[in-house]
């Protein structure tokens, strides 16, 4: 296959990838979008086979490995529970990162195969592109592994910080730049290996100071990195499909990070440099004397909601941990039978990744047109009889609106306190991730339901 013809086909698969993302603008078109994506991938792979034109023994091995990896991927895709989606995505990012590193290594070891020159005399531009691809890929790999371990609970979700951390990161970052420069001068393979090793280290150091609830930002950021790594390799291979995809994924991840940061009213650097959980925790309002709270049980909650005309459900990470989404849907079903109007309010940073709550509710067969974003539903709390907060905390804290001293001041929150009564399902009065007390617990219209989210919801279903 001629180089020009295959370039055109790569362009087509790039366009199909754009359409795949475009499809996600609404759930109806999204499934079709996914097929466009699959078609784009199939075209890219087939065209590559045809343009390499080597159908010997190597080709058989390629097919074997393709099927091998593919079956592992398919197996994971069918088996994974929806609550584990954040760690799955983090795990997948690490694979893309490592694949980018391997391709870059291969190109460095055998530049003739990619038309990049010869060993010791690789074209300058290609050298820069492949070292950038390798460095970003390596950071994506090790960073995603840490994110995966934290999300999976294998590693503690609390931030790990030490003295001089930022200085070390800065020095390592500058070292990477210096090594790339030196690599271009010397073409030495030792420098290249050093570059890869230091990038792995940077990935680890970059993610360990970031706490659990900041994971939505981290995952989006690593998503973005995996795109830039792919684009770097795309330039090396002079492949349009990879360049387009890299740019798409890179900007997609960047936008998601931005949305997540905005949802917390924090700057990107504030999150990346390790925030809340670590330094500002002590400045919270912990010294307050024990204030009285109203304590209720499942029957009280059932009574309140059955007699309400409208109920808004506010789910959070706790719902995912307790796997309470199915019980919640049952509860809503029986409320609806009683003529209660029910809707769901989702905060942008609820859960551990963008859109996490929406997927869990969809899994429990909640129709997506009953689920609303913060801006769409926030005014409705004032006219709502009961707000049922299940597993969310900081995103409902009215302090964010009233107390300029509070670390979460200015963060957009759901106006839960405006509803006539608030049911707050929580295991204890302990503060949330931001380490501050939630003022909502002590309001007159709040009834605390101290229990596991799933158990409490099931009990409410029973007494309905």
């Amino acid at each position: 296959m001629s180089a020009n013809l295959s370039a055109l086909f790569y362009l087509i698969s790039g366009i199909l990838f754009i359409l795949a993302l475009r499809g996600l603008s609404s759930p109806e078109t999204s499934r079709q979008g996914n097929y466009f994506g699959i078609a784009g991938m199939a075209i890219a792979i087939i065209v590559t086979f045809l343009s390499v034109g080597n159908f010997g023994t190597g080709f058989i091995y390629v097919l074997i490995f393709l099927v091998l990896g593919g079956s592992v991927g398919a197996f994971i895709a069918f088996k994974i529970p929806m609550t584990a989606m954040p760690e799955l995505v983090a795990g997948f990012h690490s694979l893309v990162g490592l694949a980018a590193v391997f391709v870059a290594i291969s190109a460095f070891l055998k530049p003739e195969a990619f038309n990049l020159g010869t060993i010791g005399d690789i074209k300058l531009a290609s050298l820069i592109e492949m070292s950038l691809g390798a460095a970003i890929g390596a950071i994506t790999f090790s960073g995603s592994i840490i994110a995966f371990l934290k999300l999976r609970g294998i590693m503690s979700g609390s931030p790990i910080t030490f003295k001089g951390q930022h200085l070390i990161n800065l020095i390592l970052g500058l070292t990477i730049v210096f090594l790339i420069y030196y690599l271009c001068l010397s073409q030495s393979s030792n420098i290249f290996w050093g570059l890869v090793a230091i990038s792995f280290l940077v990935g680890i150091l970059l993610i360990i100071p970031i706490g659990g609830a900041d994971m939505p930002v981290v995952i989006s950021m690593l998503n973005s990195y995996s795109g830039w790594a792919a684009a770097g390799i795309g330039f090396t291979l002079e492949n349009t499909a990879l360049i387009i995809t890299g740019a798409l994924v890179g900007s997609s991840g960047a936008i998601l990070s931005y949305i997540m940061c905005k949802g917390m009213n924090r700057s990107f650097f504030n999150v990346i440099l390790g925030g809340w959980g670590a330094s500002e925790q002590s400045s919270g309002t912990k010294k307050d004397e024990q204030k009285p709270v109203k304590n209720g049980n499942a029957d009280d909650a059932a009574f309140l909601m059955k007699n309400a005309s409208s109920v808004i459900i506010v789910p959070g990470y706790g719902m995912a941990v307790a796997q309470a989404q199915h019980a919640l849907r049952e509860m809503v079903d029986s409320l609806k039978k009683n003529g209660v109007k029910v809707s769901y309010a989702i905060h942008p940073v609820a859960g551990r990744m963008p859109g996490h709550m929406n997927v869990l509710l969809a899994e429990a067969n909640v129709p997506y047109d009953e689920v609303f974003e913060l801006d769409e539903i926030n005014n409705d709390f004032a006219n709502c009889d009961v707000a049922y907060v299940i597993g969310a905390n900081d995103v409902t804290n009215p302090v964010a609106k009233s107390d300029p001293q509070s670390p979460i001041y200015g963060m957009p929150v759901l106006d839960v306190e405006k509803s006539k009564s608030v049911l707050f399902v929580k295991r204890s009065l302990s503060p949330g991730y931001a380490g501050i007390d939630n003022d909502l617990f002590y309001r007159d219209n709040t009834l605390m339901l101290f229990a596991d989210a799933k158990k409490m919801t099931e009990e409410i279903v029973k007494s309905l």
């Binding site: 990838f17 890219a44 190597g58 990896g69 893309v96 070891l109 795309g234 330039f235 798409l248 997927v359």
Partner: protein, 101 residues
């Protein structure tokens, strides 16, 4: 003077960033998780590099030079991602249903 092909690729890259910017803003927030899994799947198109790396200069007697081995490893990783990414996206998207009228 002839324009370096690199400039063309750079143009494609920059324009694609803009396309990505506008397309991603139009994605509905409720589909942000599928967006992440599908972007992850399409970024595995890096497999084209892996295939070239695996097959380059290979003949019947030396399929497994070091550079080829890295290519094969990258193929496995990317394949896990391609199948896993698209299928899990499909599985999620199947769940999004409208209210029954």
């Amino acid at each position: 003077m002839e324009i370096d092909p690199f400039i063309f690729r750079l143009s494609i890259f920059i324009l694609s960033i803009f396309v990505g910017y506008y397309v991603v803003w139009s994605v509905t927030p409720s589909l942000h998780t599928p967006l992440m899994s599908v972007t992850n799947a399409i970024s595995s198109v890096i497999i084209v590099g892996a295939i070239i790396a695996a097959l380059s200069g290979s003949s019947a007697n030396n399929i497994f030079e070091v550079s080829n081995i890295f290519g094969f490893l990258a193929i496995i990783l990317a394949a896990v991602n391609i199948f896993g990414g698209f299928l899990v996206t499909q599985r999620m998207l199947q769940m999004y249903k409208k209210k029954k009228k």
